[in-house]
């Protein structure tokens, strides 16, 4: 089983979805892919289709309109999948928590593995979140 676990921890492919946030966290997630931080060193690539991805990186409070799309994306991903909630909006809905069109954090909709606090979290914090996820995968 060591080989499978090695494979799974060494190449976590991510897919990014913004559920209504202010796209500050999104540009930080994309900045983590860029030459200065370059998370491809850990074997992470951003994939276009939910079918190819293992990790769903979600940013933003879940607005009412986006909720069932988020659940649909989560269902489309093949099984050993995990979710990273990036940004305090994704964790608790932050400033928009009591707006009428917002559900609050991601965990009210789909199970979340790693929370990355910050508004927006710096790319180093996002990489730290991914490393924690890899440790969690290693622990099995």
């Amino acid at each position: 089983m060591g080989l499978l676990k090695w494979g799974r921890t060494k190449s976590p492919w991510i897919i990014h979805f913004n559920t209504g946030g202010c796209n500050a966290c999104d540009i930080e997630v994309v900045a983590a892919l860029m030459p200065r931080y370059d998370i491809e060193r850990f074997g992470i690539i951003i994939r276009g289709s939910p079918r190819h991805a293992d990790v769903l990186v979600v940013t933003g409070p879940v607005t009412r309109q986006v909720k069932d799309r988020l659940v649909r994306i989560y269902e489309q991903m093949p099984e050993p999948k995990s979710v990273i909630a990036v940004g305090s909006c994704a964790i608790s809905g932050a400033p928009f928590a009591d707006c009428y069109n917002v559900y609050g954090g991601i965990d009210t909709v789909i199970p979340v593995d790693v929370y990355v606090p910050g508004c927006p979290p710096k790319p180093e914090a996002i990489i730290n979140g991914i490393v924690k996820l890899i440790e969690k995968l290693k622990a099995g």
Binding site: R64, Q65, D98, Y100, N101, Y103, T108
Partner: protein, 164 residues
């Protein structure tokens, strides 16, 4: 006062000349800002006059404000990027109808859609007034920005008491 404000007063004078006492209120708060409240009856004429002859061709946006028993719709018109004229019209809540201006300025379709969505003002002649920013399955009688709808009441009504 600098030369600019006379230009604003010039516009206000022309409007008064056009529709006389129907200009209920007019105010020049600072250079390049004019607020004019017009009676609903002459609204169509005023808009046509401003956009066609006075060259206010750019609609920055349309704001809806719930002022108690009436809804105030404010058309922020702009001329050549400089002077911003806010034309205000008051519509009673029981008869929320206004003529659309999309035939004069096609760019205003989106703004009218939003005011209809969150305040319920119906714009006659608008090509397509279906719901806009509010999510699918939003109860059609809830207008979020009305004063009587507090956030708590909206939440309860929309989720029908379901979980947040």
């Amino acid at each position: 006062m600098t030369e600019e404000t006379t230009e604003e007063n010039e516009i206000v004078r022309k409007m008064k000349h056009l529709i006389g006492k129907n200009v209920l209120e007019s105010e020049v708060t600072r250079p390049r800002r004019i607020f004019i409240l017009v009676n609903k009856k002459v609204f169509g004429k005023a808009i046509r006059y401003l956009t066609k002859r006075m060259d206010f061709s750019h609609v920055s946006t349309i704001t809806g404000v719930d002022v108690g028993e009436e809804i105030e719709v404010i058309y922020h018109l702009n001329r050549a990027g400089t002077t911003e004229l806010s034309l205000k019209v008051r519509v009673a809540k029981d008869k929320l109808v206004l003529p659309t201006i999309t035939d004069i300025i096609p760019g205003a379709t989106l703004y009218e859609r939003e005011v209809h969505d969150i305040l319920g003002v119906i714009f006659e002649g608008h090509p397509d007034l279906s719901p806009v920013i509010l999510p699918e399955g939003w109860p059609s009688d809830v207008y979020p920005l009305r004063k009587e709808w507090t956030i708590k009441k909206i939440q309860k009504k929309v989720t029908k008491g379901g979980k947040r």
